[in-house]
């Protein structure tokens, strides 16, 4: 299952940056996000996976497709790039990728091996524990970032309305 998801994510993320049509790029990005949600489910983080599906796949991608259709439209080929620029970007990102992967492979992680969460067993994060952490002010409580994010979202709604309204 992990191999299927990993290959799916990698191919879709390549396709996101390589495809010519920008609507197709948004669709491949949707596949990447759904595959990532599948990885979260595989790790036992079910609430995080469902938030990923709802917010990213349900909200952000729809917003992107709307804005693509409002601005350039599907017919516009937005991948006209100079070959020199593309090769520089390719070289830079390959260097970064190789550096990252070599560091990861040489560092000896003393980590667990992921196995599937036991059916009916002790869950890692229940909804109840998430709620208690989210609204507590003790150590390990996240009330302050929670309120900060809610203020940020309110400011974001107002800002988006002010910026995008017709004059």
């Amino acid at each position: 299952m992990f191999i299927i998801l990993a290959v799916f994510i990698m191919l879709s993320s390549f396709a996101t940056v390589m495809t010519k049509s920008i609507v197709r790029a948004a669709t491949y990005l949707l596949f990447v996000l759904l595959g990532t949600a599948g990885l979260y489910f595989l790790m036992g983080f079910t609430f995080l996976g469902s938030v990923q599906v709802m917010v990213y796949a349900g909200g952000i991608i729809v917003l992107y497709v709307f804005s693509i259709l409002l601005t350039e439209g599907a017919k516009d080929e937005t991948f006209k790039r100079k070959m020199k620029d593309a090769s520089w970007g390719l070289v830079l990102s390959l260097i970064g990728f190789i550096a990252f992967v070599s560091v990861v492979l040489t560092y000896q992680f003393r980590s667990l091996v992921l196995t599937a969460p036991i059916e009916g067993g002790e869950e890692l994060t229940t909804i109840e524990s998430i709620g208690r952490h989210m609204l507590s002010t003790d150590a390990g409580g996240y009330l302050l970032p929670f309120e900060a994010v809610s203020v940020l979202l309110l400011a974001c709604i107002v800002g988006a309305l002010v910026i995008a309204r017709k004059r």
Partner: protein, 102 residues
Amino acid sequence: MIHIEYLLIVSAVMMFAGVFGFLTRKSTLAILLSIELMLNATDLNFAVFNRMLYPDGNEGYFFALFSIAISAAESAIAIAIMINLYRMLKNIQVDELEQMKW
């Protein structure tokens, strides 16, 4: 039997595909799509480190949750700016947006 390296390599592929798209795309909306790829890779890394290295804590879990919320806010504002720019200049290609004044 999934080791942590495999998950990190998956997220590295996602991250550097995003870097490649960010460096080479011309349309601002495509650049935003690449930014979403990179943010998604970092979210995956937070969750992976939490799950595989520190399974008793949940800091990475909550950081990934808040990061998802913040990236939603960021893309909403950026898309509003793009729509406004397109309405004013009829163009959102980065190499032709040279007059960014009102």
